[in-house]
């Protein structure tokens, strides 16, 4: 038995199925949480988070002042945190 070398796992670049399933689950949850946002919150968050626009640019795009823009982003982040908090514990 001592002569038997341990079996080497083949090296692969692609993620394992569990990881893929978890990733898909997270994407679905994010999509659901995003769908629950109001259109203004969704637009403000998308411009800030995905497109990296500044608060000033977002306000100009949406026709809002700086304070209203910030609060739209804050509300969106708060809602998303509430919706996605369980996932953070799982991951």
């Amino acid at each position: 038995m001592d002569d038997i070398a341990p079996l080497e796992q083949p090296h692969t670049e692609s993620p394992d199925p569990e990881r893929l399933a978890e990733s898909a689950h997270i994407q679905r949850s994010v999509a659901t949480a995003m769908a629950d946002l109001t259109p203004l919150e969704r637009a403000a968050f998308t411009l800030r988070h995905y497109e990296g626009r500044s608060i000033a640019e977002i306000g100009k795009t949406l026709g809002l002042g700086a304070s209203a823009t910030k609060h739209s982003v804050f509300r969106a982040v708060r809602k998303l945190r509430t919706a996605l908090e369980p996932l953070r514990g799982e991951s």
Binding site: Q27, H49, S54, I55, F74, R88
Partner: protein, 263 residues
């Protein structure tokens, strides 16, 4: 110790707050704020930026289909109705047909509109009859002109004083004699016997004038006048010339049987 709010930490995460160094120092010292910030960043990192899908070949069409019903109706100018593709095609077809009709009309020579529909379409050989009639009309017109010229030269010679040189008139008469022979033959061929008869008499009188001496004497002139008067040549030439002119004006071929009665 002052703690930062969630809003401050969100702005810090997105690098919107200028006091970055101050917050970082605070997060190193304050476990409460650091835990809040870790929870915040942990959640936001779950929301990864999705990869933009490759645009398909139909992307432009799909976008257009999505937005086209939202576009306002554009008012088009009234004259642009005439430039619609279907109307342009119709107008082009008419133009081509018109051009084809024009070319066809030029290609096939049209028959005489007054005669062809009645004669050429009813009888075989009608085209030949039309040609004969046309030839006869041309002959009558030419003979009428010939009679006019002959009348003038005969009148000149009959009124010429004795001893005058009529060589110029004789040269003119020579031409008339040659022409008269041709017309007489054509008149015979065309069945215009009365015309041929007058042309024959005219030819003889003209020949007599040609063979008269150039310096005409009184007796020569008397002989010519007597011959012309005896045959009533000037009268016949004038009457027949007028009749031919009249037939020419009416533009209706005279029946040959009636033509033979004129003399």
């Amino acid at each position: 110790m002052k703690h930062y709010t969630e809003e401050d930490l969100i702005l810090h995460y997105y690098s919107e707050r200028g006091r970055r160094t101050g917050i970082d120092v605070h997060l190193d010292q304050c476990e409460t704020c650091a835990a809040t910030y870790r929870a915040l960043t942990g959640t936001l990192r779950l929301i990864a930026t999705p990869e933009a899908p490759e645009r398909g070949d139909q992307y432009g069409l799909e976008v257009w289909q999505r937005i086209r019903h939202r576009l306002p109706e554009q008012e088009v100018p009234w004259w642009s109705v005439w430039f619609r593709a279907d109307r342009l095609a119709t107008a082009g077809s008419f133009a081509v047909l018109l051009l084809a009709a024009f070319v066809a009309g030029r290609w096939w020579s049209s028959p005489d509109p007054a005669v062809a529909p009645t004669l050429a379409s009813t009888k075989p050989g009608a085209a030949a009859a039309v040609t004969d009639d046309a030839r006869q009309r041309i002959l009558l017109t030419s003979v009428a002109d010939h009679f006019d010229r002959s009348e003038r030269v005969l009148t000149d010679i009959m009124n010429a004083p004795a001893g005058e040189d009529i060589s110029a008139e004789q040269r003119w008469v020579e031409d008339l004699v040659a022409t008269s022979r041709l017309y007489r033959q054509d008149a015979v061929d065309a069945g215009e016997h009365s015309v041929a008869l007058v042309l024959d008499e005219l030819e003889r009188s003209l020949l007599e004038i040609v063979h008269t001496p150039s310096r005409v004497t009184a007796s020569n002139l008397e002989e010519i006048r007597r011959r012309i008067d005896a045959a009533s040549l000037l009268f016949k030439v004038r009457v027949l010339g007028d009749e031919l002119r009249q037939r020419e004006r009416l533009d209706t071929p005279r029946p040959r049987a009636r033509a033979t009665q004129t003399s």
